[in-house]
């Protein structure tokens, strides 16, 4: 008996993989049904739906990049401290001295790439008309995913706490100050007052909510950190689950009738 056979016949192996290797039709079906990760897929699929020239593989790559960002992000969290005192120096150390500091590069370039691939995924879904019935709802889920992905990138941009970071966030969040009714320089905000006391001022408006202060500061850093590392990824993970579920329930990847 060869070593390979010995391993494959051992109790340990069989407790993990409950069926022989997927070499024949039966076991190729069983493997898809018994493995929780593979079970995201159907067992069989229309050939046109997996053609690279059709899907461009962009949804899958976007998902893979999300996983890469999660793994590298968790590793970076062991190192990085979101405080005014430490944030910049931690990134500096990642660049110059930390072993595996390259994780920061991978995390950053992966984030850029994910923005591009999600646009391309959406582009192909549109151009193949795949948002049409019965997939209308999943397109909507996708749009929310798009917004959350951009917000993930945006909140992450602040964390290195360098000039690039705070000024990009300052430019971006200045818009919130002009939110109609809810920003202190937004149209209509002057109408919201009790007696002579304005309700919306620079210490209570939408921008203040976003920044946790009147300008980008230490509290902003904490807020963006929590959004970036916990809140938004959880929401994205949840919506991706819905998205994949619906891809299958809506009849799998689209194709001509």
């Amino acid at each position: 008996m060869s070593v390979g056979d010995f391993i494959r016949n051992s109790q340990v192996w069989k407790s993990i993989f409950r069926h022989p290797a997927p070499r024949d039709r039966r076991n190729r079906v069983v493997v898809m049904l018994t493995n929780v990760f593979l079970h995201l897929h159907p067992v069989s699929i229309r050939k046109s739906g997996i053609a690279l020239s059709y899907t461009w593989c962009m949804g899958g790559i976007t998902f893979f990049l999300f996983l890469v960002e999660t793994v590298t992000g968790v590793l970076l969290m062991f190192y990085y401290r979101p405080t005014l005192e430490h944030a910049y120096n931690d990134i500096l150390a990642l660049r110059d001295v930390a072993t595996l500091g390259v994780l920061r590069e991978i995390h950053r370039w992966g984030a850029h790439a994910m923005v591009i691939t999600i646009w391309l995924h959406m582009y192909r879904v549109f151009l193949t008309g795949s948002y049409k019935p019965p997939r209308e709802f999943n397109w909507g889920v996708g749009v929310i995913l798009l917004v959350l992905t951009l917000l993930l990138s945006f909140t992450g941009y602040l964390l290195p706490w360098d000039q690039l970071a705070i000024w990009a966030i300052t430019v971006g969040s200045n818009m919130a100050r002009a939110t109609p009714f809810l920003g202190h320089e937004g149209p209509g905000s002057t109408f919201l007052k009790i007696g002579d006391t304005p309700l919306i001022h620079n210490g209570s408006d939408a921008r203040f909510l976003l920044l946790a202060g009147r300008s980008v500061g230490g509290d902003t850093l904490l807020r963006f950190y929590v959004l970036h590392c916990v809140a938004i990824p959880l929401a994205v993970g949840l919506l991706i689950a819905v998205h994949f579920w619906r891809v299958r329930k809506d009849g799998g990847i689209s194709g001509p009738l």
């Binding site: 050939k47 053609a51 893979f64 582009y123 997939r135 945006f154 919130a176 002057t190 001509p256």
Partner: protein
């Protein structure tokens, strides 16, 4: 100008490797036509092109110092402005879409790719352009341009082929692969391969290019220009034409709402699950205008052509922080009261003052949609029904906000249609 000689020398070496890569690309393309398509003329032609790249590579290896001539650079800088840039991209867009059969021909598309590579290669010989391109956070921009270009070509090409097939009464190409296959191995192996390739690319990219880290943050000194992350530069560009409440809040919200609404307003049942252009031209043109013209080209503009104080700079010009663009913008109220009636708007009640602009906006929002329903969009209105039609037209109107304001700014220097600083309400 190149102040550091070593930088210029090492750029030349870099370009040499870049052109060597182009030699390989074109040889591969030629080989495909030789081996698979048995098209000797095409194979020969692309071999000659790759030889030309070889000569370029040799020249750069020898550090002959080939650079884009100053006259050409000055000419481009002189011509380039927001107007030429925007109108140029619209015209190019229309030409490509109209003659899509010609432009999606693989040889034509490959030729255009080569031209763009040459344009890029010669552009980076300019120090100012090079400084923009080599910013690490700008690397996604060429990636964006080339991937969007490639996939636009791919989708249009498949659409053209499908449209031809369907005109002959045949089924679209996707229909030919209608049979079911098992996910293991057909899909999982593709996925595994894709994951491996992505990992390799990401790790290589991470090792080759350092992520940017500038000086520690200080609220004392803002960098000039202060740019948003590249994927938001389209929004930042809108700030030139609209106040933050429009450019930063209302229009982005309308983009999101509009995207979600697409499946519910598109009543066209055709073109579900395959590439086609002629079965749904309206939907596709609208989306392409939104994505290519109003999003991607604005991002490129914001990255390459906007410098200090958000002034416009030609691709090869020096970002002079002291450049002043004279602004003599006027409002609709000035045009109406001052130019037409010779009355000063000072001291006028805001409602009277802004009435002309308010009326214009109301006409645009309230009168135009029913007018369209009665005239050129009549057949759409009948087929879509009341609610769908008005949602569609409203969304299109918001999409048109930016081009309209651009045109008004360029032609009559218009700043605001409605100017109510009293309520932060400027349109």
């Amino acid at each position: 100008m190149w102040t550091s000689i070593t930088e210029w020398e090492s750029l030349q070496t870099g370009l040499a490797y870049f052109y060597l890569l182009c030699v390989l690309l074109n040889l591969g393309f030629a080989f495909y036509y030789f081996k698979v398509e048995k098209n000797l003329a095409a194979a020969g032609f692309w071999t000659v092109v790759s030889l030309a790249y070889g000569a370029l590579a040799a020249g750069y290896f020898a550090h002959l110092g080939w650079a884009l001539p100053v006259n050409i650079k000055n000419g481009i800088d002189y011509l380039m402005g927001p107007v030429i840039y925007s109108l140029g991209s619209v015209v190019a867009f229309c030409i490509v879409l109209y003659w899509r059969k010609f432009f999606t021909n693989p040889h034509v598309a490959w030729g255009m790719l080569n031209l763009s590579i040459l344009a890029f290669g010669f552009s980076v010989t300019d120090k100012n352009f090079f400084d923009i391109v080599r910013k690490p956070d700008n690397v996604p921009i060429p990636l964006l341009i080339y991937s969007v270009g490639f996939f636009t070509w791919l989708a249009l090409r498949r659409s053209v082929l499908n449209d031809q097939r369907m005109a002959r009464g045949e089924a679209p190409l996707e229909k030919l692969e209608d049979e079911k296959v098992l996910v293991w191995p057909d899909l999982v192996y593709t996925e595994l391969l894709a994951m491996i390739i992505c990992t390799i690319i990401l790790v290589a990219w991470g090792l080759l290019l350092k992520a940017p880290l500038e000086n520690p943050a200080t609220s004392a000194k803002a960098p000039n220009p202060s740019k948003a992350p590249w994927y938001f530069l389209g929004l930042q560009e809108m700030l030139v034409y609209y106040d933050p409440w429009m450019a930063g809040v209302v229009l982005p919200t309308m983009i999101i709402v509009g995207l979600i609404a697409i499946p519910y307003i598109d009543y066209n049942k055709q073109g579900n699950g395959y590439y086609t252009f002629s079965q749904r031209p309206f939907a596709i043109i609208t989306y392409l205008v939104g994505f290519i013209i109003l999003w991607v080209t604005l991002i490129v503009l914001g990255t390459v052509l906007r410098g200090p104080n958000w002034n416009f700079f030609g691709p090869f010009s020096y970002w002079d922080p002291h450049k002043v663009d004279p602004l003599n913008n006027i409002n609709v109220s000035d045009i109406f009261w001052l130019h037409w009636f010779g009355k000063s708007v000072k001291g006028m009640h805001w409602f009277i003052r802004e009435l002309p602009g308010i009326i214009l906006v109301l006409i645009y929002l309230l009168v135009l949609p029913p007018l369209l329903a009665k005239t050129i969009m009549r057949s759409m209105f009948i087929r879509m029904g009341f609610i769908r039609f008005f949602v569609l037209v409203t969304l299109l109107q918001f999409m048109a906000c930016l081009p309209i304001k651009m045109l008004l700014r360029w032609t009559i220097n218009l700043k605001y249609i409605v100017y109510l600083p009293e309520f932060f309400f400027n349109i």
